[in-house]
C-alpha cells in the first residue's frame, strides 16, 4: 500500500504544474457533478432568459405536470367562489389544460406557473393579501373552470381545464400581452428531512398570451372568462 502510495505521489509529482492544475479543476467539476456542477442554483427567481418560447395551446413538459396555456383574461368578476375585485384591483386569469405525469396525486400545480413583466401582482399570503410583490413571487390560486372549485391535487389520468387566478393591485397599465413562465421540478429527497418530494423549480418554457378583456357577465358558477 505504502509502495503504491509512493509510486502515485511520484507519478503525480512528475506531471507539469499546468497539467496538475487542469486536472485539479477537472476533478472539482467531477466532484461537484452529483450536486449540480456548473448549473445555477434553482428557484422560482432563476433567470428565465433564453428559455424556449412556445405557442399558445402547445403542451409543455413541466415535470411532473403537462400544461398547455390556452388564454389570458383580465376581469374583476372571475365567478366561482372568488369575490368581485374592489378598490381598483383586478384578477388576471390564465387558462390552461393541465394533467400530471406523476403516479400519485400531485400538489405542485401552484408552483408550476408564474407571470413575467406584468407588475403590481399581489401576494397570495393570507397575512397580507394586498402586498405587491415581484412577479416571480406572485402565486396564483388554481381553479377548475367547469365548476369553480379549487384544484388542490392533480390525480394521474385526469386532465382539467383550469384557471390560474392572480390578483393585481390595479386594473390600470395592463400590458397587451402577458408572459407566462412554466417550471419543471425534480423528484428527490429533501436535504433536511430526507422526505421525497418535488423540488428545484427550473423554468422550461414561456408563452406570450394576448390579454383579453371580456365584457363583465353576471356571476356564475364557473370561473369566468376561461370557459
Amino acid at each position: 500500500m505504502a509502495r503504491m502510495w509512493g509510486w502515485l505521489t511520484g507519478w503525480v509529482a512528475a506531471r507539469p504544474l499546468r497539467h496538475l492544475l487542469y486536472a485539479a479543476a477537472a476533478l472539482v467539476l467531477v466532484i461537484s457533478a452529483p450536486f449540480g456542477g456548473l448549473a445555477k442554483a434553482s428557484g422560482a427567481d432563476q433567470p428565465t432568459d433564453g428559455i424556449p418560447s412556445v405557442a399558445v395551446g402547445a403542451e409543455v413538459d413541466a415535470t411532473p405536470l403537462r400544461i398547455s396555456v390556452t388564454k389570458a383574461v383580465v376581469t374583476a368578476q372571475p365567478g366561482g367562489t372568488l369575490p368581485e375585485a374592489t378598490g381598483g384591483s383586478t384578477y388576471l386569469l390564465v387558462g390552461v389544460e393541465i394533467s400530471t405525469t406523476d403516479s400519485e396525486t400531485n400538489f405542485g400545480a401552484v408552483d408550476a406557473l408564474r407571470l413575467r413583466d406584468v407588475g403590481q401582482l399581489t401576494s397570495s399570503s393570507l397575512s397580507d393579501p394586498t402586498k405587491v410583490v415581484p412577479d416571480e413571487e406572485a402565486k396564483a390560486g388554481v381553479y377548475v373552470v367547469k365548476d369553480g372549485s379549487r384544484l388542490g391535487g392533480l390525480g394521474p389520468g385526469l386532465t382539467f381545464k383550469a384557471a390560474y387566478v392572480f390578483s393585481r393591485a390595479s386594473a390600470k397599465d395592463l400590458p397587451e400581452n402577458i408572459t407566462v413562465v412554466l417550471y419543471r421540478h425534480t423528484y428527490r429527497a429533501h436535504r433536511g428531512t430526507g422526505q421525497m418530494g418535488w423540488f428545484d423549480p427550473t423554468p422550461v418554457a414561456e408563452v406570450t398570451v394576448p390579454l383579453a378583456h371580456p365584457t363583465p357577465q353576471p356571476s356564475s358558477t364557473s370561473t369566468a372568462g376561461t370557459s
Binding site: 496538475l20 466532484i31 372549485s149 390525480g155 385526469l158
Partner: protein, 201 residues
C-alpha cells in the same frame, strides 16, 4: 528542496486528496442508487381484506362497507364535475387502545397509480376521532379516471405522511366493469355524509 519542487509536491498531494474525494462522491452516487437495506425493516405491515370484511390494524379494526361513484359531487359550494369519477368509499373504524382515526386514505389502481383524499374541496374526507372500542362511520372521496378503477384497492394508514413501522390496510374494493358503466351513467351527484359515532344499527 527547491520552491518549484515544494509547490509541485503540495499540488500533487492536493490532487490525491481530490482523487480520494472524487472516489467518495462516486461511492455516494452508487449507494444512492442501490436498494436501501432498511426499507424492508421499515416497510408497513400490510393487512388485506375485501369489501365488508374486517381488517385488524395496529390502531384498530377497519371495514369498508360501501363503494360508489358518479361524475358529479354535491358540496356546500355547489355541484362539482369530474373529468373522471368521484369515488366515495364508506368505512367503519374502531380504535383499539387510544382515540384516533385513519389520516391516510387513498385508492390505488393495478398499474400503481394512486389518488389521495383529505386535502382540498374536491376530495374531502369526513371522519370523527372515536374513543377506543367505539366505531366511527366515515367516508372519503377520491377523483380518478373511470378506466383505471376496475380492480382498485383502498389503502388506509394512521399516519398521513407514511405508514413506515406501522400497519396499512389494503382493501379490495371489488369494482367490476358493470359498476363502472353504472357509475358513469349516474345523473345524481354523490354526497359525503357527516361521520357518526357508535353502532348506528
Amino acid at each position: 528542496m527547491s520552491a518549484t519542487g515544494l509547490t509541485r509536491q503540495r499540488v500533487s498531494t492536493g490532487a490525491i486528496w481530490l482523487i480520494a474525494i472524487a472516489a467518495l462522491a462516486a461511492g455516494r452516487l452508487v449507494t444512492d442508487h442501490l436498494p436501501n437495506p432498511d426499507t424492508r425493516a421499515t416497510a408497513p405491515f400490510v393487512v388485506t381484506a375485501g369489501l365488508g370484511q374486517s381488517a385488524s390494524m395496529r390502531s384498530g379494526d377497519l371495514a369498508v362497507t360501501e363503494v360508489t361513484a358518479a361524475p358529479t359531487l354535491s358540496t356546500l359550494n355547489g355541484t362539482l364535475q369530474s373529468p373522471g369519477l368521484f369515488v366515495r368509499v364508506t368505512y367503519r373504524f374502531t380504535p383499539n387502545n387510544e382515540s384516533g382515526q385513519l389520516l391516510s386514505t387513498t385508492v390505488s389502481a393495478a398499474n400503481g397509480w394512486s389518488w389521495s383524499s383529505g386535502i382540498g374541496e374536491r376530495v374531502p374526507r369526513r371522519c370523527a376521532t372515536a374513543p377506543p372500542g367505539v366505531p366511527a362511520e366515515c367516508a372519503f372521496i377520491v377523483e380518478a379516471p373511470a378506466d383505471r378503477l376496475v380492480g382498485a384497492h383502498a389503502v388506509f394508514a394512521a399516519n398521513p405522511d407514511n405508514a413506515d413501522y406501522d400497519s396499512q390496510a389494503d382493501i379490495d374494493l371489488g369494482i367490476s366493469p358493470e359498476d363502472i358503466a353504472t357509475w358513469r351513467a349516474a345523473t345524481k351527484a354523490i354526497t359525503l355524509p357527516e361521520p357518526t359515532l357508535g353502532d348506528a344499527s
